[in-house]
């Protein structure tokens, strides 16, 4: 299974999905013109990964801005990982926020309310 590495643009985030390390990072701005088109290949990739997952999996969000249509896709990625977790695998979500960005922190807390997966809400300042 190949890595996915996509460089950031002014409206799409940087994507770094590494199946060997079990590390999946989404960072920057997520305002794609068509969020379904952008996230569908990532969800499919994650679906394949879950058939033969690594010892541990971490989905890491380091976002600056996102639109609400992206949030539904974030939740789908989280739910994919939640399935692994419920099967007894080691899986975690790390949601980073800027200290001054209360909304970003709350967005992470919202996902926490919607998922049984361990979701760590972390300040970028503590990185």
């Amino acid at each position: 299974m190949d890595k996915i590495v996509l460089e950031a643009t002014s409206t799409t985030p940087r994507i770094y999905f590494d199946p060997v390390a079990g590390y999946f990072e989404i960072s920057g701005k997520s305002l794609p013109e068509n969020s379904f088109e952008f996230y569908k290949p990532l969800l499919d990739w994650m679906e394949n990964y879950s058939e033969n997952p690594g010892m541990q999996s971490a989905l890491v969000f380091k976002l600056e801005y996102f639109n609400t249509s992206s949030t539904s896709h974030f939740l789908r990625l989280i739910k994919r990982l939640e399935k692994l977790y419920s099967e007894g695998r080691n899986a975690v979500v790390q949601w980073y926020y800027d200290d001054e960005d209360e909304d970003m922190k709350e967005a992470g807390e919202d996902f926490k309310l919607l998922s049984k997966l361990p979701i760590q809400i972390l300040s970028k300042g503590d990185e």
């Binding site: 002014s10 013109e33 068509n34 609400t68 949030t71 539904s72 001054e100 960005d101 970003m104």
Partner: protein
């Protein structure tokens, strides 16, 4: 650059040009507008508008929290007017209905976001009903609704189940005003004003 109206570019009309610009300048000043766009919106133009707004807010030394609030509201407003301006569908006689207005204003510490677009009468009715239902909700109820809609997974290419509107309401502490004006039997113009205060 090509001009549709030769009288505007003619050198003899320089004076008229500057007067029109001055009038425009004064009107924007009076309304506290710092950025405005009128016309058909594309993804590229949306990105450019957001970048200009971002720079402008930094220049005005808006707090980081306010900058985030405003950009988040702008993101949803821009996407709403871009994706939901559907009045011209099936009505070839009205190509201008794809046009919209987005503006950012600033007045005594508060920021205003204005967004306007044409909608089919049916879409306008749906949106009005949705807004009437959401506006009286408390912030906790809005939060619950947001979580419910988000977890329902109802999304499309255009966005998701009114999540954008809920976000606008939450970011502005429900300080919004709106109106629908009938333009024809098939179309209405939706005006939205969002206030981001300290």
């Amino acid at each position: 650059m090509m001009y549709d109206n030769p009288s505007i570019s003619a050198s003899g009309n320089n004076m008229k040009d500057s007067v029109a610009a001055l009038r425009q300048y004064q009107a924007m000043q009076k309304d506290g507008l710092i950025l405005s766009y009128c016309g058909t919106l594309t993804h590229e133009l949306m990105t450019a508008f957001l970048q200009m707004a971002d720079t402008k807010l930094k220049d005005l030394q808006a707090t980081k929290k306010k900058q985030k609030n405003i950009i988040n509201v702008l993101i949803e407003c821009l996407q709403n007017v871009m994706f939901h301006g559907d009045a011209s569908k099936g009505d070839q006689s009205a190509p201008d209905y794809e046009s919209c207005l987005v503006a950012l204003g600033h007045e005594t510490g508060d920021f205003f976001i204005y967004a306007g677009n044409f909608l089919s009468t049916a879409s306008a009715k749906q949106l009005e009903a949705k807004l009437e239902k959401m506006l009286p909700l408390t912030s906790e109820q809005l939060h619950d609704l947001y979580l419910k809609q988000l977890s329902s997974g109802e999304i499309s290419d255009k966005g998701g189940a009114g999540l954008g509107i809920i976000r606008i309401l939450r970011e502005s502490n429900q300080q919004i005003a709106y109106s629908f004006r009938e333009i024809s039997a098939k179309a209405a113009f939706f005006s939205l004003q969002v206030r981001i205060s300290s």
